[in-house]
């Protein structure tokens, strides 16, 4: 069995374990320059592992890696867009994978690539989203997900010599949010099915008057809410586009209060991990990575609709760099244990403070003069400092569990979200460090909190994942 292992240096290596000898493994590929590896299939002779590599320069690659010595042969590079699924044909001659179509940024097509690099064929295309391809055990067809009949369903296209040999057929309609995992020799499809999602709600800071944030809110993933500084709107993230084995694609949404319509920000970002309003409510500070493969901290200007980089961090992964935008236009970012001031020109960098553990969850007080941040080491703690990172003092120590959210609930109070063995918790902590008040709240996951005007917005709920089997989905071996 081949698998990816997150090593102590913080990148993934490719390991091979002998399933007959539990506990024994070999590392066959270990390269910090390609710090994300995803093994997808063994070649029929067991000598090669079809692997997705994601490099530090934000290039994804379809590669064959020797299971013996890690020798790597790159078949194709795809820049930062990576296949959501790829598979090796039973005869070992072809790779099937999905990739963005050249028609629409949210649609994918299915391709077949000869492993000798000699040929590529677009197997399935059209104004549909076609993805997650898998070979049938007999090698005579490719199964994949498509919205060709409306809702995502399972489709099959016959294949001969790496090319389509007939029209695609709908195998099963309306499969829901499914992720094909594999096809057994008997032709049964094993797949994951996702249901549910997090919803936005708000309540008073004392935990009373809890209700959905929007009366028309649909059952869909909405999370990381952030009140505008004047309370006139809320920004949040929404899961969009097709399913993914990794992080779902997220849209930035701004909605006026009370109860305005959703408005998506122009999609310039590849991934948004967190968001917060910038000074004066003129735009949003986005932590994540853009479509040019740059990770760090960005600013989305609500008036111009433009997104610009505040701080690019070459060492950050696609989740970007925690940080805040100061009133003078500079950004304060957390890089490991360091607080770094960047700007106002993006290339002006100056370390301003150093802490004992990695920093996360930076948030500025309403006046912009003080900063709350979390240290996330062996134990988590919450600290208050000036906006220049000076005079830091601890206001909350968590012997167990983790800090999941921070938001100033006034000039002298910080709302703290935590998660531990007893579920999620909310607290109001005095900035002076002398008072900690629990806030009654749902015990399930709280992905994002925001406080304003005596209220707290939060996301709660979450996804369920189940494993299903669809029998006789493909021709048996």
């Amino acid at each position: 069995m081949a698998y990816a292992w997150l090593n102590a240096e913080g990148f993934y290596e490719l390991r091979v374990a002998d399933v007959a000898s539990p506990g024994t493994f070999r590392t066959v590929y270990r390269n910090s320059e390609a710090g994300f590896v995803q093994p997808c299939a063994f070649s029929p002779d067991g000598e090669q592992i079809l692997t997705l590599l994601f490099r530090r320069d934000n290039v994804s690659q379809i590669a064959l890696i020797s299971a013996e010595d890690g020798t790597t042969r790159t078949l194709k590079s795809l820049q930062w867009i990576y296949p959501k699924r790829m598979d090796l044909s039973p005869d070992g001659k072809y790779v099937v994978y999905d990739n963005l179509s050249d028609r629409h940024a949210d649609e994918r097509d299915v391709y077949v690539l000869a492993i000798d690099g000699s040929r590529e064929t677009r197997l399935v295309s059209g104004p549909t989203n076609d993805l997650f391809p898998l070979w049938s055990p007999s090698g005579d067809a490719v199964l994949y997900s498509s919205d060709g009949a409306g809702e995502p369903g399972l489709w099959s296209v016959p294949v001969v010599d790496g090319e389509a040999a007939g029209e695609p057929k709908l195998v099963r309609p309306e499969m829901g949010r499914f992720l094909p995992l594999g096809v057994s020799d008997a032709g049964d499809l094993v797949y994951a099915l996702r249901t549910g999602g997090s919803r936005l709600a708000e309540m008073r800071l004392d935990g009373t008057d809890r209700q959905p944030m929007f009366a028309d809110s649909v059952e869909a993933d909405r999370f990381a809410p952030s009140y505008a500084p004047d309370g006139s709107a809320v920004a949040y993230l929404a899961r969009v586009s097709s399913e993914n084995y990794g992080e779902a694609h997220r849209a930035v949404v701004v909605r006026s209060l009370p109860g305005g319509k959703e408005g998506e920000a122009p999609d310039r970002m590849a991934h948004v991990e967190k968001l917060a309003w910038g000074p004066g409510g003129k735009g949003l500070v986005l932590q994540g990575s853009d479509r040019r493969g740059r990770a760090g901290l960005f600013f989305f200007d609500l008036e111009s609709g433009r997104t610009e980089a505040l701080a690019i961090d070459e060492r950050a992964d696609f989740r970007g760099t925690p940080g805040v935008l100061l009133k003078d236009g500079a950004a304060l970012i957390a890089r490991g244990k360091e607080l770094i001031r960047v700007g106002p020109e993006a290339s002006e960098e100056k370390p301003v403070a150093s802490f004992e553990a990695r920093l996360d969850l930076l948030t500025l007080a309403p006046g912009g003069e003080r900063l709350a941040l979390a240290q996330v080491g062996a134990t988590h703690s919450v600290w208050i400092s000036t906006s220049s990172g000076e005079n830091a003092r601890k206001i909350l120590d968590l012997p167990s569990g983790e800090v999941t959210g921070l938001s100033w609930s006034g000039n002298d109070e910080v709302l703290v979200g935590t998660r531990g063995s007893n579920g999620a918790r909310l607290y109001v902590a005095a900035a002076a460090g002398d008072r900690l008040q629990p806030v009654p709240s749902p015990k399930d996951r709280l992905p994002g909190i925001s406080a304003h005007g005596g209220k707290v917005a939060f996301a709660h709920g979450g996804e369920r994942e189940e494993i299903w089997i669809l029998e006789h989905a493909a021709t048996p071996r």
Binding site: R30, N31, E33, A34, R55, R56, D57, N58, V59, Q61, T72, R73, T74, L75, K76, S77, Q79, L113, A114, D116, G117, S118, R119, E120, T121, R122, L123, V124, S125, G126, T128, G148, V157, E163, A164, G166, E167, P168, R292, G293, R294, R306, E308, A309, I312, D313, E314, R315, E345, A346, S347, E348, E349
Partner: protein, 331 residues
């Protein structure tokens, strides 16, 4: 309606660039049109045509005159120089790894290599030879007649000439550079200064916004302000192809492979050295109405600039053409 496949993307067997021939750092898969499979015969024929001055009106200029193998398949002139010493308006592009390209010429006006390779032949300020005249010249040569027969089982014509030249250009590859070995996991392949330069390249310098992937180029078009003076430019670049306002003054990102042997730089050859290029980007390019929003001053220190140039020199690798090795000029 759903289409089963896109015939335009169908590709076919590679005989010259087999898996074992692909230099480290490049993809095994190179797109090749179905109608022009890459064969040893077509590459050899293309190579002969490439170096033959018969392809110009007065037998004075071959493709290789401007695309000198020892200079990264470009030359030392700021702009192309054709028959009678006529000067063009743009720098001769490097032909390194163009088989992986998606569009051709600085403004991307050719969609395929087959379309691109014959344009200079007929261009009056480059080789200035009508295609019909070239066909006649080649038909009169028994040697060429035999080579065309072997490659395509046809006589020379405009299509087979394009096929042969495109096949040869596809055989021009560069990889296995110190950078490629470093990325493959050989940590000592770059020295300390080059590693610092790589950090600048990916981080503070933001070079990877455009220069990324195996070929260190995004194959997109950007306005960096090169050629602009007092808010005006003499070359509209990509806009001449699309007509779009946003494309005014935008040019295709070139590969950085073999850059150290192939100055002067930029589409107009206006920057003589790599140091000049780094200085240009350090200043955020030349302000103009369509300047790419990612262009901004970098505020690099002198050491950082030196590190970046040192890294750029690590992109010189093993150049091959027609299955042969090429000796490039000293760095």
């Amino acid at each position: 309606m759903r289409r089963l496949r896109d015939s335009l993307l169908l590709c076919t067997a590679a005989m010259t660039l087999t898996a074992g021939d692909v230099p480290l750092g490049l993809d095994a898969y190179m797109p090749v049109p179905e109608e022009n499979p890459l064969t040893r015969e077509s590459v050899e024929l293309g190579r002969k045509l490439f170096f033959d001055p018969k392809l110009s009106r007065d037998d004075s200029v071959s493709c290789a005159t401007c695309h000198d193998p020892e200079l990264g398949f470009t030359d030392e002139h700021p702009v192309a120089v054709g028959v009678d010493g006529q000067k063009g308006t743009r720098r001769t592009p490097r032909l390194i790894n163009r088989g992986y390209g998606r569009s051709f010429f600085w403004d991307g006006r050719a969609d395929t290599l087959e379309e691109q390779v014959v344009k200079p032949i007929e261009n009056p300020i480059e080789m200035d030879l009508a295609m019909s005249a070239l066909v006649a010249r080649l038909e009169s040569s028994s040697e060429y007649e035999a080579l065309f027969e072997a490659a395509f089982a046809r006589k020379p014509d405009s299509e087979t000439i394009a096929w042969a030249l495109a096949s040869y250009v596809r055989s021009i590859v560069s990889g296995d550079s110190p950078y490629d070995r470093f990325v493959a996991g050989e940590v000592d392949a770059l020295d300390e200064q080059q590693r610092r330069g790589l950090e600048i390249f990916r981080g503070k310098g933001a070079c990877t916004v455009c220069h990324l992937g195996p070929n260190l180029a995004d194959e997109e078009f950007h306005n960096t302000g090169v050629g602009w003076q007092d808010g005006a430019t003499s070359d509209v670049g990509r806009q001449s192809v699309t007509g779009a306002r946003r494309d005014l003054g935008a040019f295709k990102t070139p590969t950085l492979r073999e850059a150290a042997v192939s100055g002067p730089y930029m589409h107009d050859g206006s920057l003589e050295t790599l140091e000049d290029v780094v200085d240009f980007y350090d200043e955020g390019g030349e302000p103009n109405p369509g300047l790419d929003p990612d262009m901004e001053p970098l505020h690099l220190t002198e050491q950082e600039k030196g590190d970046l140039v040192a890294f750029l020199r690590s992109l010189n690798g093993q150049v091959r053409e027609g299955g042969r090795g090429v000796r490039t000029a000293p760095q």
